[in-house]
Amino acid sequence: MLDIRGVGKVFDAPGNRHCALSDISLSAAPGDTVGIVGPNGAGKTTLLRIITTALKPTSGSGSVCGFDLGTQPAMVRRQIGYISGEFPLYNRLTGREYLRYLGQLNRMTRKHLEDRIDELCERFRMGEFLERRCAGYSSGMRQKISISRAILQRPPVLLLDEATSNLDLEASNELVGVVERCSREGIVTVYTSHRISEIEKLCNKVLLVVRGRCLFWGNAVDFIGSGVETMESRYARMIEQSHLT
């Protein structure tokens, strides 16, 4: 369903050429939850942006639900829901108008769109603020709207880029619940976070990226190994080792 093969990305701005990603591969089947971990600047967001087709890979290739990232970007985007940690909204639109706007751009029919918005409204308990303008929303409200936007079309692949970084514990837990539910529904979830405990709890596959290079790709249980280490301590040790090399 999600297949990334040897993807690399070089940003070649004048006077600022740097390699953000090098030879990254991963794959996921329906229901998989892939955790991408790594320190700041490791290339996690760049990788997700490549999967969303917002960025074009310098090398390598990939596909989402069989659609090629390079040659079928529009079809790829139809398969993807994307949530970043900033929950950007239009302050002068209401939550419903925002969802309606993006739904229309996704070519959803009016009735289907309204039904889906109502369904999400009920599911995330957005009734009391959905008709208000987004300017007055709290982070939790913004998060709910953003999640609703991402899953509005029931995409088979959901990408979450540090989606819990600005949230309090309660809101984070709510988001984690959404990811778990998506996983149960067979949706592929790719999840980046600095909270290793969340990765450990949610993900069955882990990609560790440091300075654009893959240090580990495999099952979460293999990442932890057979020892007594937690995922967090293992992660810390691997990062430390990468600095030494």
Binding site: A74, R77, S84, Y90, L93, Y101, Q104, L105
Partner: protein, 487 residues
């Protein structure tokens, strides 16, 4: 609904909810512009520019008339001794001033060469009196056109203002001698007038020499081309050297009688105002339209990227091209609203503030037609300005930079319009190929009644080409990675 229209509708919906921004960005500039124009024109032209009764029925006072007679007498004593007595001249003046069986219309177009509708109006007045069985003489300082239609001797008395002085031009010594003599006569008078005689070659029937005589104001002397001054002096020189006989000069007047018209400084003032109006509309309206374009484009482009709302938008099923075009449509609609409101307020203000002689009274339909034409002229500017502004917005890494680059782009676009400051510029085919300049000249032409449809078509095409190029740039930019993640 097409994604572009969805995007455009959403942008406009958002904009409509920014009431303060909308007021500050569109309504306030429009009202301020209209107010400024109203103040300028209201103060400048409190009274009608030209009162028909003043043109037709003499306005010179008896004092002025006596002074004129004395001055003329002195001058003719020196240069045309064939006039037998002062009484002859006084009789002439009497008939001119107070027994107006004939009418002289001194066309008050001191330099208003481009105000064709105004000239037409004056001529219409003249013709109306001719219909009423009055002989009409018609004079024009410039003589352009008028000498083809009227052949009478014309005397014009103008109450002079300001200093009378020949401009420094390279003239033969004898010419300067004459000018000094004339100037001496002027200096000795109690009011600044200048006796001017000129030959009108086109109205010399069968070898008869007819002259146009007149006092004229030098209020507009600063704008007089040196070549005109030279020709005037040469004409003086000719009349002096020929020592024209009395009958050759005055027969017509003595036989027929003629009125004398008075004009003040208003024509010169109107000329300045017309110039101001055309430059004001072309440059100030453009500046505000372009500024609006920059603001809206920044709002729909760079600001959205800074707020990170562009990323979810670009991850929808809509293509980036469709989204960019939607934003372009939104900018165009917003800028058009701003521009149309500005020009609408401006035009309506002018209709009420400017004397009808300058802008002939219009029916409602004519007013609507004028507004539609104005907006039609403005439309390509709106389209190209919106495209350039959105391209700048997409290229800029922050709203602040978009604003700075927008100013540069705005001035670059408006720069050709500064050619308007040159005097005598009119719509031309070559100028029409320069988008902003061609349209500026068209606007000026519309205001001054020198509008040409051929230039209109070329200007439309050149401006629309610019708009097309800018839209192509927008599409290219929107498909680049940097449009989303430029830092």
């Amino acid at each position: 609904m097409h994604p572009s229209l969805v995007v455009a509708r959403k942008e406009l919906l958002q904009l409509s909810r920014d009431r303060i921004g909308l007021f500050a960005g569109i309504v306030l500039p429009a009202l301020l512009m209209a107010l400024l124009a109203g103040i300028v024109f209201g103060f400048a032209l409190k009274k009608p520019a030209i009162d028909a009764s003043k043109i037709v029925r003499m306005g010179a006072s008896r004092e002025d008339y006596d002074a004129y007679v004395n001055l003329a007498w002195e001058w003719f004593q020196r240069h045309s001794p064939s006039i037998s007595s002062k009484e002859d001249l006084a009789k002439l003046g009497e008939r001119l001033q107070f027994g107006p069986s004939h009418v002289d219309v001194d066309i008050p177009l001191n330099g208003l060469t481009s105000a064709q509708h105004f000239e037409k109006w004056c001529k219409a007045v003249a013709y109306s009196y001719r219909i009423n069985i009055r002989d009409v003489s018609y004079s024009n300082v410039i003589l352009r056109g008028s000498d083809k239609e009227f052949e009478d001797l014309v005397i014009v008395v103008v109450k002079g203002i300001g200093n009378v002085e020949f401009v420094s031009i390279d003239l033969p010594q004898e010419t300067l001698d004459v000018s000094r003599k004339v100037k001496g006569a002027i200096d000795s008078s109690t009011f600044d007038v200048f006796l001017e005689t000129r030959r009108i070659p086109k109205v010399q029937p069968e070898g008869m020499i007819k002259y146009q005589l007149g006092f004229r104001t030098f209020a507009d002397r600063g704008n007089t081309q040196s070549v005109n001054a030279e020709s005037q002096v040469k004409q003086l020189l000719t009349i002096c050297s020929n020592d024209v006989e009395r009958t050759r000069v005055f027969d017509t007047i003595l036989d027929d009688g003629i009125d004398v018209a008075v004009v003040g400084s208003l024509p010169a003032k109107i000329k300045v105002l017309l110039w101001f109006l055309s430059v004001y509309v072309s440059l100030v309206v453009y500046a505000l339209v372009l500024r609006s374009a920059c603001e809206f484009a920044s709002e729909f482009g760079t600001t959205e990227r800074a707020l990170k709302t562009l990323e979810p938008l670009f991850l929808t099923h809509a293509s980036r091209t469709a989204i960019a075009l939607g934003k372009y449509i939104a900018v165009c609609v917003s800028v058009a609203a701003a521009g149309f409101m500005m020009i609408g307020c401006f035009w309506v203000t002018l209709r009420f503030m400017i004397p009808y002689e300058l802008f002939p009274r219009q029916t409602l339909w004519e007013t609507i037609r004028a507004l539609v034409l104005l907006n039609l002229i403005l439309l390509p500017i709106v389209l190209s300005a919106s495209g350039v502004a959105l391209a700048v917005s997409f290229m800029s890494s922050s709203p602040k930079r978009a604003g700075a680059y927008g100013y540069v782009a705005m001035w670059a676009m408006i720069a050709p319009g500064f050619y308007l400051f040159a005097s005598g510029d009119q719509p031309s085919v070559i100028a029409s190929f320069v988008p902003m300049l061609g349209t500026s000249l068209l606007l000026k032409g519309l205001i001054q009644s020198t509008f040409e449809w051929k230039c209109f078509a070329i200007s439309m095409i050149s401006s629309l080409t610019l708009a097309g190029v800018s839209v192509a740039i927008i599409v290219v930019l929107s498909n680049r990675e940097s449009v989303l993640y430029s830092e």
